[in-house]
Structures are given as C-alpha cells and as structure tokens.
C-alpha cells in the first residue's frame, strides 16, 4: 500500500498539469457549441443547377483524350457541368489525390484559378463578409493539419475571420474555418497533445502520458477501495457516533459504547472513563495504548513500529492511531485507573521566562489521589494561539524580544503534563514550559501556549492522573518495608524536567517522612531559569537528609554554586559513592541529558532496574 501511494503521488506529479488540461479541454468540448466548433456557421450548400444531358460529351471520349484515370465523375461548379477525372486516388480525400477538370460540354481542360476559387468559395458562403484574398497553399496548411493536397484558401472579412478551403485540383469545398473553430482546435490540440505533428492523437508524448495516467488512476482506485474497506468514508455529519463492542482481557464482553467516528479510540474511550496507558498523549510514539481489534484494520506506520508482524496479524494496534470509524470491536488489554475530569484553573504564574506554574482544582471539588510523578492528559480545544505569552511580567520580557509576534490557528489535540505535587492535595500543580517555535515556519506548541494563556477561572478537560513514573515499588511504601529503608535516592533533572521530581521529593520528605539521603541535581542555564531555587534551599535547611545541588551552565559571576552540566557534577559524586546497588536514580529532562546520564550510570555499574526516568520528549 505504501508503494502504491508513493506511485500515486509521483505519477500525479508527472501528469498533473496535463491531466488538468485534459479535463479543462474535455469540459470545453462538452459545453462548446458544436456548430461553431465545426466552423460551418456561414456554410451553405451551393445551389444545384440543372444541366442539359443532351450536351454532355461521351465520358469515353474524354478518357481517351486525357491521361489515365481511375474514375470519372460528372459534377457542376458554378452552374457549369464538368467531368472530374481522378488519376490517383488515396484511401481518403485528404490523402494525395490527383485530378483533372474537363468541361463536360466542350471538353476543355480547366484549371481552378484565383477568380474561380473565389467564386466557388462565395457560393458555399452565406455570411456578411466579402472576399479579401484567395491564396493557393501547398501542404501543410495550419487550419488543415492532415491535408496532403494543395488547397485554395479564400478569406472573408467577417467578424469571425472565415476562411474557405477548396481542393485545388477538384474545386471541392473541403471546409470552412473561423475563429470559433480555431479556438476549438486549440483545445483539441491541448487534449491530443498534438503540438505540430500530423500523427493526430497517436503521438509519442500522449502515449507516454496516457500510460502514466493509467497508473495514476489505477493506484488511486485501489487506494479508494482500500479506504472504503477500512471504513474511512464514514460521513462526518451522519452517524457521528459508532457503537463499538468492548471486550476485556478475559474475552468477556463489557458491552457496547458509542465512540465518535472521528475521534481516536484513545480519546473516545476516555469519554467513557476508560483510560488506556499512554505517555505520549496520542502521538503514536510511546507504544503503550495497545488494544486488539480485527486484523483487517489498516496497519499504520506507528503500529508497525511497536508490534511484530505476528502481533499485527492478530490485530494488535495502537488506540491513538485509529479512529472510531475503523473498528467494530476491540479488546482492552490494559486499563489504567484514571478518569476524565473538569479542571478549573486557579493560578497561573511565571516562574521563569518561559515556564509557568499552573494550579488547577477539580471542578467537582474532589481531591485526586495519585503517586508522585503522575501526569495528566489535557484535551486542548481548537483555538487561536499567539507566539508570545500574554501578560508577561516585565522582568521576563527581554527573553521574548526576538520572537516575532504572530497569531495562528491550531487544531484540537491532547497533551500530557506531569504533576508537580503529590496526590491527595487540594490543588493540582503543573510546571509548563511555553514551547516557542524554533523558527517562524513552525508553529509554537499548541498545548503549552493554550494552557499558559488560559485565564484563571476557566475550565479544561483532562484525563488522569496516570501513574507511570513513581518511586519504585517497595522503596517508598511506609509499612513493613524494613529491608528497603536503606535506599538512597538521587534525582536528576534539567531545564523543564522539574515537575515529577519536585513531586517525588516532597512526597518522600513531607508525606512519607523518609529519613534516607535524598540528592537533587538540577541543571539550568542561568539563575533566571533555576525554578524553585528558594523553595529547595529552604527544604534543605528543614530536612538534613536532603541535598540540593543546582548547576548552571551559563551562570553570572555572582553565582556561588556549581557550574556546567549536571551530569558532570553527578559523575564526581558517583566516584566517591559506595554501595551503588543501594542507590536509586530518577531522571527527568531533555533527551540528551537523559541519555548521557543513563550511559554514564550504566558505565559506573548502576543496574538498569535502579534507574527510573520520565522521558517527556517521547
């Protein structure tokens, strides 16, 4: 199918313009006036004149006097009877022919001269014009591309520039031409791609284009059949909801739910408070929203990436990559305990030039419980966005100076953000980085700008919380976990990778009252970017087991702390740490920092099971 689509695309590049020309000229042929297009507006039959049979000479006599002929025809031109002798006869009239014209009363050989041609032309013409010129033309003749014989062209000075064509040998009126016909001929030329050849529509260029077009239309046809088979032709207005039968892990039916045919299954299911695991929020990049459905459902690129051929054949698909319209039945493999909530924004504050702290409360006044490190998926509606944040504090304005102010429209989407506090509290806190565009050809992040520009008091829908990243099982649990008590925890974050770590730190210290050592390495650019600096410094004073180690890569001279990247500081620390098997590492930050850190930890002998990371770039 992929090759077929590529073939469709590239063949359309090749024939696209010509296809349009074919359709335009074809359309013109349908709507054109066929009478005009033939050029015969002013054409009439010459009057039939009576001839005196008695005066006709014997044909045999004429034949004996003239050169060898294959035929003789008695005709009348301008009221005078002639014998038209055919010496050479082509299969068609426009093929090479040779004629003689002999007066049928006196046997005189006649040649069509300018005056006679003009008179003959006039007798076939009933328009308002008069003859302006008569020319004897040898082939090729522009108006008669196929003609192989000499012709007389008699031109009239009427409104449409009529030209009458006569066969120079026989005086036969070949046809009329005029501007209307020439206009139509122009379209015929386009349609037949007949640029100057006499091959008509059998020219090489049209054959080439016709074959390519054949591929274009056949691939398009198969594609369409495929779309139909995959239910991609669900009407957007009719039957907006589709009944889908849900089956649980044990193959038992849970019943039928109606899911919007245009929504992804991931988003459709959450409407029924069925949350599938997902950490990319529907991007098709985390591979966690697995379901099983009919194997005939089309396989997308993301499906291919996350499933083996065997699984694909069994019907394994990613729920975020398929619409309600595509499936009839689906099996849920893994349902997460999460629901959809209405959240009210109660606070929105800049804590760095590009990071905001957003505080939400569930609209129904409930408290959500979850393990620290969880995230929620926000349903961002389609809206107008703005490249520069609204209500920017004065101090942070210089940071945005170089960004061009522009408005843009974005579509509805969903985005996930980690919670910056632990569960069971009144508020849900998020630290969201305003994702500006790297250049002006790219739109800024729709989710972050929408949320950061949201007015306090407004509501938004979000699903979750999803617990995906949390303090490892056993380690954080309070009761009966004696043997786990000795674990040291190291949190490593950078840039915007703050929220889940902050939640974990507070959970450990404040909620669980964990006395074990807890290190927090946090890297940022400048002092301005170092969010929650004061809070962590205070926390360090309050809890002696907590060590806060901020590192700045572009610090000012007055910065008393560490400089460089977090990984470096951490490395020094690791080398004088013993019992590495008793240390757990929690990572969150930009991809590069994470992969480097993980590589470094592994090199130092840290077991993979002791490294937890929240890769928000996926």
């Amino acid at each position: 199918m992929q090759y077929l689509k590529a073939l469709h695309k590239w063949t359309s590049v090749v024939v696209g313009i010509q296809l349009l020309l074919w359709l335009i000229s074809g359309f013109y042929f349908v709507i054109m006036d066929h009478q005009d297009a033939r050029g015969s507006v002013y054409r009439v039959r010459p009057p039939v004149q009576q001839i005196d049979h008695q005066r006709l000479l014997e044909p045999g006599l004429i034949l004996s006097r003239q050169q060898a002929s294959v035929g003789l025809q008695q005709i009348t031109l301008l009221g005078i009877p002639y014998y038209l002798l055919t010496h050479e006869q082509g299969l068609y009239r426009h093929f090479t022919n040779s004629y003689s014209l002999v007066n049928a009363y006196n046997g005189e050989l006649t040649r069509i001269n300018e005056a006679m041609a003009s008179s003959l032309a006039r007798s076939s013409y009933n328009g308002p014009g008069t003859v302006v010129s008569a020319l004897r033309l040898a082939p090729p003749v522009a108006d008669l591309p196929k003609e192989q014989n000499s012709v007389w062209q008699v031109n009239f000075d009427d409104d449409i520039n009529t030209s009458v064509y006569l066969d120079a040998g026989s005086g036969h009126v070949i046809g009329h031409s005029n501007d209307d016909k020439r206009f139509a001929d122009f379209f015929f030329m386009l349609h037949f791609m007949d640029y100057g050849s006499v091959k008509g529509f059998n020219n090489i260029q049209i054959i080439f284009f016709a074959v390519v077009t054949l591929f274009l239309s056949l691939t398009g046809f198969i594609w369409t059949i495929n779309l139909i088979a995959n239910g991609r032709y669900a009407l957007p207005f009719v039957g907006g909801n589709k009944a889908i039968e849900l089956i649980d892990k044990n193959d038992l039916s849970i019943g039928v739910r109606r899911i919007s045919s245009r929504q992804t299954l991931l988003d459709g299911l959450i409407e029924h408070d069925i949350a599938l695991p997902s950490s990319c929020g529907g991007g098709g990049t985390c591979g966690r929203c697995k379901i099983v459905t009919d194997p005939i459902v089309a396989v997308g690129a993301a499906d291919k990436h996350y499933f083996t051929d065997h699984e694909l054949a069994l019907g394994y698909r990613l729920a975020c990559q398929h619409k309600g319209a595509e499936v009839k039945r689906l099996k849920l493999l893994d349902v997460v305990n999460a629901r959809k909530h209405q959240l009210i924004l109660v606070g929105s504050e800049f804590i760095s030039p590009s990071i905001k702290e957003l505080r939400f409360k569930p609209a129904d006044g409930s408290k959500l419980d979850y393990r620290a490190g969880a995230y929620m998926r926000f349903f961002i509606p389609a809206a107008k966005g703005c490249s520069v944040p609204l209500r920017l504090p004065e101090a942070f304005q210089p940071h945005w100076h170089h960004i061009e102010q522009l408005e843009y429209q974005h579509l509805a989407c969903s985005r996930s953000y980690s919670l910056a506090n632990y569960g069971g509290r009144q508020e849900l806190v998020f630290t969201i980085k305003y994702q500006s565009a790297p250049n002006n050809r790219v739109l800024p992040g729709a989710g972050s700008s929408y949320l950061c520009n949201l007015e306090p008091g407004k509501t938004i829908e979000a699903a979750g919380p999803f617990e995906d990243f949390y303090a490892l099982p056993g380690a954080s649990v309070t009761a009966g976990a004696e043997q786990q008590q000795k674990k040291t925890r190291v949190m490593i974050g950078a840039g915007a990778g703050m929220a889940p770590l902050k939640a974990l730190i507070y959970e450990q210290l404040e909620k669980l009252n964990n006395k074990e050592a807890l290190y927090f390495y946090f890297g940022a650019g400048t002092e301005q970017d170092l969010i929650y600096y004061r809070e962590f410094t205070e926390l360090q004073q309050q809890y002696p087991q907590f060590h806060y180690l901020p590192t700045l890569s572009r610090a000012s001279d007055s910065w008393p702390g560490a400089r460089g990247y977090v990984q470096q500081g951490l490395k020094d620390k690791l080398t004088n740490m013993d019992c590495l098997e008793n240390v757990e590492f929690y990572l969150c930050g930009p991809t590069n920092m994470m992969s480097e850190t993980i590589a470094m930890l592994r090199a130092c002998g840290v077991e993979a099971e002791n490294i937890a990371f929240d890769d928000f770039s996926r």
Binding site: K9, L20, F27, E58, A68, T224, G284, Q409, A446
Partner: protein
C-alpha cells in the same frame, strides 16, 4: 493548512464518486492513443487498386444510359472489380450499370459481393460468411449505407468488409480493434444515450472531475513541492512522526 485539509477531503470524497470514471477515461484514452488510428480504421485491410478505366472497353455510351434513366443524377464512371461501370442515382435510388454492355448490375448478388470483398481485401484469410443487411444496421454501420453486404474474413482480429449492394464499393470495414475503439470512445465520452449531443452526464462528471483533480494538484503542491512544515505540535502534515516530539511539552 486549511487548504491542504480541505483539498484532501474534497479529493477523497469526489474520487469516491468519480474515481471509476477516471479509470474509464484513462483506460479508454490509453487504448485510443496507443493503437495507431490508421490501423484502427482498417486502412491496412483494403488495397487501393489503381484500376485504370480503358476507354476502349466502354461500349455502352452515356447517351444510352441517359435514354434509359432520364433523371439520372450524380453520374460517375468507375470500376467494379476491374469492369467499367456507370453509377448514378435515379428517383432517389442508386444504380450501377455495366459500361461494357449496359447490364444493370445493382443490387449485386452475394457471390458478386464476395468476389468484390476478396478483390479489395488485403489479407489472405478466407471468407467465413456474407450477409445482406437491408435493415437494422449494427451499431458499427451507418444506416445511410444500406443495403449492404457484410463479408467476414477468417483472419486476425476478425475483419469484416461492408460492400454496398448498390454501388459495389467498400463503404466501411471493421475489425475487433476498431470495434474495441468504438466501445472505448463511447466510454470515453460517456455516450450511453446513443449520440445525444446534450450529454448532461459527461458535463457533470467532467466538472466534478475537474474539481477533484484540482484538489489533487493542491495536494501535490503541499506534499511534493513545499517543504514539510514540522509544526512544533500535532498540527503538522505528518502527525505520527512529529507529534510525538513535543507531545509532552513540559513536565
């Protein structure tokens, strides 16, 4: 982006209805342009004999023809399988009279028609059937040629010559490829109502096709000629590849 989306929708939906016709157009169009039209027209089926009329053979003068048929019109002298003949119309009827002896030759007999067909046919196949058609011509034959003998040859692509029963001339010829061409032409111009010049079906189809193709060209423009716009969010043209990148824009 709006234009791209609309175009994709227009293209997809219009093609659902008009797609078949696109296939028909391209198949029939390809057929018509690939086969050489002169071959299609059966030009290779007949030989253009150069039969010079020998004036010494003309023993039956025109005067006598005119005496017998005083209203004769459109007179001509030619040959029918090498024998000189007069052809003319009289009272709206076509006649063929021998110029050698004045015998009325028209309408010709079946064996004469066969002889004529064999004389004009360029191939070597044998005649399988000859049939006089005087009413209800097949679609490949114009009614104005009636009555006519259809002479079939046992040869590649089953050629037929149509010999006029009145003039003895080959009025037309056909073989399977021409018959195919006729069918293709009908399909190409959607002429399902027998030559109705007011072809509403074709009008509507070509208009829809035009829109569908223009939408397609917009897609080509976006997909091929314009650099991909990897939106910082999911609104790009390639959601799977780029959406993930910044899906969780922050934590």
């Amino acid at each position: 982006m709006k234009l791209l989306k609309t175009s994709r929708k227009v293209h997809k939906w219009l093609m659902l209805f008009i797609g078949i016709q696109f296939v028909i157009w391209s198949v029939s169009g390809a057929y018509m342009v690939i086969f050489d039209i002169d071959y299609i027209h059966g030009d290779s089926l007949v030989v253009q004999h150069r039969d010079i009329i020998d004036d010494k053979q003309i023993n039956f003068p025109l005067k006598q023809v005119l005496a017998r048929y005083p209203q004769a019109e459109s007179l001509s002298l030619g040959s029918f399988v090498k024998q000189p003949v007069y052809r003319f119309s009289h009272d709206g009827q076509q006649y063929m009279v021998s110029a050698v002896n004045g015998d009325l030759l028209s309408p010709i007999t079946e064996s004469q028609a066969k002889a004529a067909a064999r004389y004009y046919y360029s191939g070597s196949g044998i005649i399988t059937a000859a049939q006089l058609i005087s009413a209800h011509p097949p679609s490949e034959l114009s009614g104005r040629h009636l009555p006519v003998y259809r002479v079939n040859f046992d040869d590649f692509a089953s050629p037929s010559l149509y010999i006029s029963a009145l003039s003895g001339k080959v009025v037309t010829k056909r073989h399977e490829f021409w018959r195919g061409f006729d069918l293709m032409f009908i399909l190409h111009v959607m002429d399902y109502q027998d030559g109705d010049p007011d072809n509403k079906l074709l009008l509507v189809s070509s208009l829809l096709a035009l829109f569908a193709a223009m939408a397609g060209l917009v897609l080509v423009y976006f997909k091929v000629f314009r650099k991909k716009v990897p939106g910082a969010d999911g609104n790009s043209q390639n959601p799977v590849a780029t959406q993930g990148q910044l899906n969780r824009e922050s934590v």
